[in-house]
């Protein structure tokens, strides 16, 4: 499994043609305590860089963008019931959705961990 990162602070961990998507530890830290998550329904088609989910913290409501084009296979209902999980383990149990990738070629436009860490240092 390889994990890729976007400049909008989403991560996608790819296994075959299925990607697990969430927001990064950096983003979760910046958002502060997450209090509400809205996820797309399974079966929905999402487009790369378009709004996919909503995450709301005490500070702000933010859109989460789809890092790739594809079909939503599953949303993580655990974070809908307990949004605190996003803060506790953003790049693990706090994942948002699983997507079936339409075009794996889109991954080459994303950052790897080293590039993303360097990017965060400039933010």
């Amino acid at each position: 499994m390889t994990t890729y990162y976007t400049s909008e602070h989403e991560w996608i961990s790819v296994d075959g043609d299925v990607g697990t998507v969430g927001i990064t530890t950096f983003a979760a830290g910046k958002l502060g305590d997450v209090v509400f998550v809205d996820l797309p329904d399974a079966g929905k088609s999402v487009k790369k860089d378009a709004d996919m989910a909503v995450v709301e913290s005490v500070k702000a409501a933010s859109d989460v963008y789809a890092p790739v084009t594809g079909e939503i296979l599953e949303g993580n209902s655990a974070i809908v019931d307990a949004p605190a999980k996003v803060n506790e383990d953003p790049e693990g149990a706090g994942w948002f959705v699983k997507i079936r990738l339409a075009d794996k070629g889109q991954l080459s436009g994303l950052m790897d961990k080293t590039a993303y860490d360097a990017f965060c240092a400039t933010q």
């Binding site: 305590d33 209090v35 509400f36 005490v58 500070k59 702000a60 949004p83 605190a84």
Partner: protein, 523 residues
Amino acid sequence: MTMNSTGRPTSITANGGAGTDMTVSGSKGLLQAEGLIFEIGSTDKTGVDLPKPKGAKSRLGGVTRSTSSGLPGLTEPEAVRHYVRLSQRNYAIDLGLFPLGSCTMKHNPRLNEKVARLPGFADVHPMQPQSTVQGALEVIEELADWLMKLTNMPAVAMTPKAGAHGELAGMLAIRAALIARGEGEKRKRVLVPVSAHGTNPATAAQCGFIIDEINAAPDGRVDLEDLKSKLVDSSDVAGIMLTNPNTCGLFERDIKEIADIIHAAGGYFYCDGANFNAIVGRVRPGDLGVDAMHINLHKTFSTPHGGGGPGSGPTVLSAALAPYAPVPFITKTADGLRFVEHHDEAPNSFGRMCAFHGQMGMFTRALAYILSHGADGLKQVAEDAVLNANYILARLKPLMSPAFEGYCMHEALFSDAFLKDTGVETIDIAKGLIDEGYHPMTMYFPLVVHGAMLIEPTETESKAELDRFCDALASIARRAVQKDPSLKTAPHLAPARRLDETRAARSPRLKWTPETPTMKAAE
């Protein structure tokens, strides 16, 4: 030497004033602790004892209530004290400077209140025959005339009941105009700057438009190049929503050019008039190419708001949008004034936004404000509002970090750059202000400025009051830079300390139940 050993001491002795903030009663000083009305009332108490009606038969058939309604009963003094105590926990413009940026918390002149309470205005009903309320209709008509003159716009919809409701009126008029042009399905994109009030994109989305964000330039204004790049293909553009002065407290210098390129692209220009108070009497939006703009009577024209009264958002319209204005509106006839209410008389109107004619109480207050100031006075209102904000900006500049270079309009905006490496954050500054007896400024808005602190003093504050506020904020800024840890736990002197906002949002308790334990200050 004679001593009066029973007299009261003339100096603070025991404890030296450094007492505990815990009391047996829960009250602090003369600020009374107060529970919820359900906690202090009981169903077996009542303020007034009435004799049981004799000989009256129930006409409820078999549906008479058999159990108690559970409504709390209080004696009259308990009821009076309950609400007075709650009101004492409130901060109000009548209590002190209310520096909330973007909100324009100016003084509500008492003359307005006197006029609004005249029986001819206060005691009329929207359902009574229009021939009996000609004076009230004349007030609406005269206010409408002032608003059109001050903005140099040919029409105004008086019915919208708040700023965002006015936005809705303007955007629905734009949608109606596009539909009339046969482009309703084609032109769906509305451009909104990132610094916009949240209501702008929300309103556009509510009207079925798609939002396209425009970036801010480093000087805090609209990035003209970004705007132009979004108009390369403009066949789907419905219009732009722009606030001027913008939410950074800056005048959009390129506004005329922005209006021209939007019009050239076939779109309309919605101006958010929330900050009209900074330019009233000085700038007429109609001269700048605006197609629609709401005017917050509760901001620019001093009617009470923020818990003290309803909003009112009349929306001025250009000749292009005027035919689509909502009903009802007033028309002059040989027999006097009357409302145009129905489709047969206003076939192009997009419809009705509320049951009646808008906020009558706000109309009378706003007109009283306008007439008591006159055109020259309104101009001075704008000038003094800008002057006061710049005074605050100048006084605090050495200690805090202005978000942008140069003068501001009616509000001073600071970033949290001066707090870097102190551990103190914008919210701590705001909480510190509470201890100093002030309502906090607007914080973390606009979103384009990191840790924003937006301060709008309005024209109604004296120099002495501005100085007192600046002294307080300056001392907090100094403490912050010195990493004073007590700021992290402020407020220390307020009835309630820091509230657990996360818990309140994650597990809100929206209904009181008898099992709910007695409310305590969340400390």
